[in-house]
């Protein structure tokens, strides 16, 4: 079906954003192939490598195509766990490193919080602040997604305690007790997170992560409130009433958790949530849910943190996924990383600590990534890549919905925003099998949660790539369907 679309419909024959891409995927060996396996054996002697899928050839990879060391060429709709904004070896990014001044930025990494470089504020204006979420004018840079959340959580606790103190200075007792991990200097505050949430694997973020046991087993944690993120029935248009009821149920539980924890003196200082639960299985919630959640947080004097580490950067058809939600107020804190190349968070001015070194570390992000990000954002604007994401996302989603009718056990609950799409298989075994079969057909994708296949192409994934993807998916589905 999609092969014919590809051949006959001009709409799918858009000119490529990245020159030099191959005509399509090409699979020559099993994946991982013999060279990947040999390297994996070598890697296993020096470090944990159980999650390695293949060894890539990053000198050959181009645009949407990931080349591996066995000569296989995969259409990459997973893009390094959603972290590659412009595909591989984008010529404009290669050019950044031809500039002598830029090269110096790559080898002189400063302690940004103490000795920033000459052009750093301007670089931040030209990159991060150019795409700041609505209502935001401040940003704090960090090295990765986990650190971004860790530090944003700290900023929330500091903000909440300052409100509680009525801006009074710390008491000597607070200062001495906190150093020994004791009250009153340390607080008993909590953050509310959601079942199925993923915010990172470091200790603080792990308290709020609730996806798989493998992330959390054996690690000490804290008793913080955990709400329920909606689980919708699809297609949405057929289950309007049920899904509204699901929103109400989840929001009532949030209110109840606020009351329960605040009453116990473990005040809920903030709510931490993904705009789409990604690692947990691509669970969506309605704009109305997020609007009401923001109201509940405000009513309770708590901050709302939206974690856009996986959803940010344009992949949902808006630069930030929460732009879809039409929220009443700017979000208090928005964290990012992955496609932004470097971590950090945008926060409203009231979340800025009053003292230096409250939010601090040696590197505080990295200027060389900001230099690359500046170019990435130039290209996103020049090539209208968000518009591309919308158009291509529609094609993807419609294609998946069509498959849903033909392969109801393999393609269920089709959902997505932009190219940030997913569907469920009716078991984990089938999902895993489908991801493998897709690799055989030349497509690198990934699972999410127990039964979902998630699509995370880069922003240069165009209609003709979607057509190729759908064609290969159709083959994989057809083969699996005949086997079952």
């Amino acid at each position: 079906m999609f092969r014919s679309l590809l051949a006959n419909n001009a709409r799918y024959l858009s000119s490529a954003f990245v020159a030099g891409e191959p005509a399509g995927p090409e699979v020559k060996t099993a994946i991982p192939g013999p060279r990947s396996l040999a390297m994996l054996a070598e890697m296993k002697t020096i470090q944990i490598s159980d999650a390695v899928q293949l060894f890539a050839d990053y000198s050959k990879s181009i645009g949407n195509y990931l080349y591996d060391v066995d000569g296989n060429i995969l259409l990459d709709v997973y893009t390094q766990i959603s972290s590659v904004p412009l595909g591989y070896n984008h010529p404009e990014l290669l050019d950044v490193l031809q500039d002598k001044e830029n090269i110096r930025t790559f080898i002189n990494r400063p302690a940004l919080g103490v000795f920033p470089g000459e052009n750093y504020p301007q670089r931040v204006y030209n990159s991060l602040l150019r795409v700041a979420p609505k209502g935001h004018t401040e940003v704090t840079t960090m090295a990765c997604g986990s650190c971004s959340n860790e530090n944003a959580y700290k900023a929330i606790f500091v903000w909440y305690r300052r409100k509680q103190r009525g801006d009074a200075p710390y008491t000597p007792e607070e200062e001495t007790s906190c150093v020994m991990n004791q009250s009153p200097g340390v607080s008993d505050l909590t953050l509310l997170s959601f079942k199925g949430a993923f915010h990172g694997r470091t200790f603080g973020t792990l308290i709020t992560t609730h996806t798989k046991p493998v992330h959390k087993l054996d690690i000490p944690t804290m008793d913080w409130p955990i709400g329920t993120f909606p689980r919708y029935k699809y297609p949405l248009e057929d289950f309007v009433r049920e899904n509204e009821e699901e929103d109400r149920r989840c929001l009532a539980e949030v209110e109840e958790l606020f009351e329960r924890y605040n009453k116990r003196g473990k005040n809920v200082a903030g709510v931490v949530i993904e705009p789409i639960q990604s690692e947990g299985g691509d669970h969506h919630a309605s704009p109305a849910f997020f609007q009401q959640l923001q109201r509940i947080a405000k009513k309770n004097g708590a901050a709302l943190l939206i974690d856009e580490v996986q959803t940010g950067g344009g992949t949902t058809g808006e630069f930030w996924c929460h732009d879809h939600f039409n929220l009443e107020h700017p979000v208090d804190i928005v964290t990012y990383s992955k496609k932004m190349l470097v971590g950090g968070y945008f926060s409203l001015p009231e979340f800025r600590p009053r003292e230096g070194y409250r939010i601090f570390n040696t590197w505080m992000g990295e200027p060389s990534k900001v230099v690359l990000l500046e170019k990435v954002i130039d290209v996103i604007k020049r090539d209208k890549l968000i518009e591309n994401v919308k158009v291509t996302g529609d094609i993807l989603l419609n294609g998946l919905k069509a498959f849903g009718k033909r392969y109801p056990n393999l393609v269920k609950n089709v959902r997505g925003r932009g190219t940030f799409c997913a569907f469920d298989c009716d078991s984990m075994a089938k999902r895993d099998q489908l991801v493998e079969q897709l690799k055989v057909e030349g497509v690198q994708t990934g699972g999410a949660g127990p039964v979902a296949v998630r699509l995370r192409p880069s922003l240069v994934f165009q209609p003709h790539h979607a057509a190729i993807f759908l064609d290969r998916l159709e083959k994989a589905l057809h083969k699996m369907d005949n086997k079952v």
Copy 2:
């Protein structure tokens, strides 16, 4: 005194490891100067900037000299909080980015745990494993020091619980409970850290950090045991008996903490310690202390983690500071970052989790840093920079000791290994004043703890730089002494 040494003693006129350095510091304006202040005003509108000291010109900075945007040239003995191994703009590092293949590594950042690049295992052999601590053959890469410690802590808990379970698989109850932050899936294990310790500012590491209130106020934490790190009297040779008694007192407390926490069911799974407490004020402990600490940990079935984030990379005259301690056994886990350009940890094979994704994140470090590190280690070996650190460190330490006799209120408790040297002033006010006065004399240094000045030059800090530093320090001390 040192000016004459510089002029007359051939020993101090070593040829420069980095070509193009100026003859000495040059201060033209107040620091921060007018341009730095203008940029700081700009930066303050977009992010927390209270710790910024100046804006640097990283295109002009060279070797041991940090140029700022006001045309000031500072001899840098602080090097971005001890994170610059070969000084600024080292020609060999600039060359790395002339190589087209290398450039692709800088713009195609992979999810290393899933899709490593072709040459990655070899790159790790040529860099990190080439300098692995004694007895180590495995390494896990991370993006920064905090993440390195966070993940190393997790590896310890996973290891300890596996021992407790006798290698039995997880129960279904453990698997379901942990996702909701509950026992038995999450553990009540603890790590023992030390007063004055600094291991990072993220939630897990912050539980073990005990330096300043500003790091810890308001942040929820856990009740983990906190021991006492020795506080020695100097000069060491005059207080042998007292300092041995201090070791005994601290070690007895460690044993008592093991007993107390284990009895309460909050088993101590590991001991986390810096070989020199750095941020806390450059506190040293004897080889005998560390040897005995290792024995106590072993006796209790607990891991010993030595945090070499600030001390690693050659700056103490050995590649790893704990090489000075003549320990009976390899250290279980050694964490690193800063001068290594990228974070991570070396661990004995038994600390490798049995399942993929136990220790994991999107980026798992960064190959481009490993490419740079490979070159850094080449240069360290070729130019015999560890030998240089030893020679230069002796000059520094002897110079400081001489000042200690002449300015007993401003230069006390002189101590150090290699060029990792420090001394105390007799008050925080005087220390802060001295750091400022040193800047006026053209030297960038930094404080540590309440009263210490810490020296953290790069590995290309040579005898002639030490002579210049001592000369400038002498001027600063003389001026302050006349004011007091």
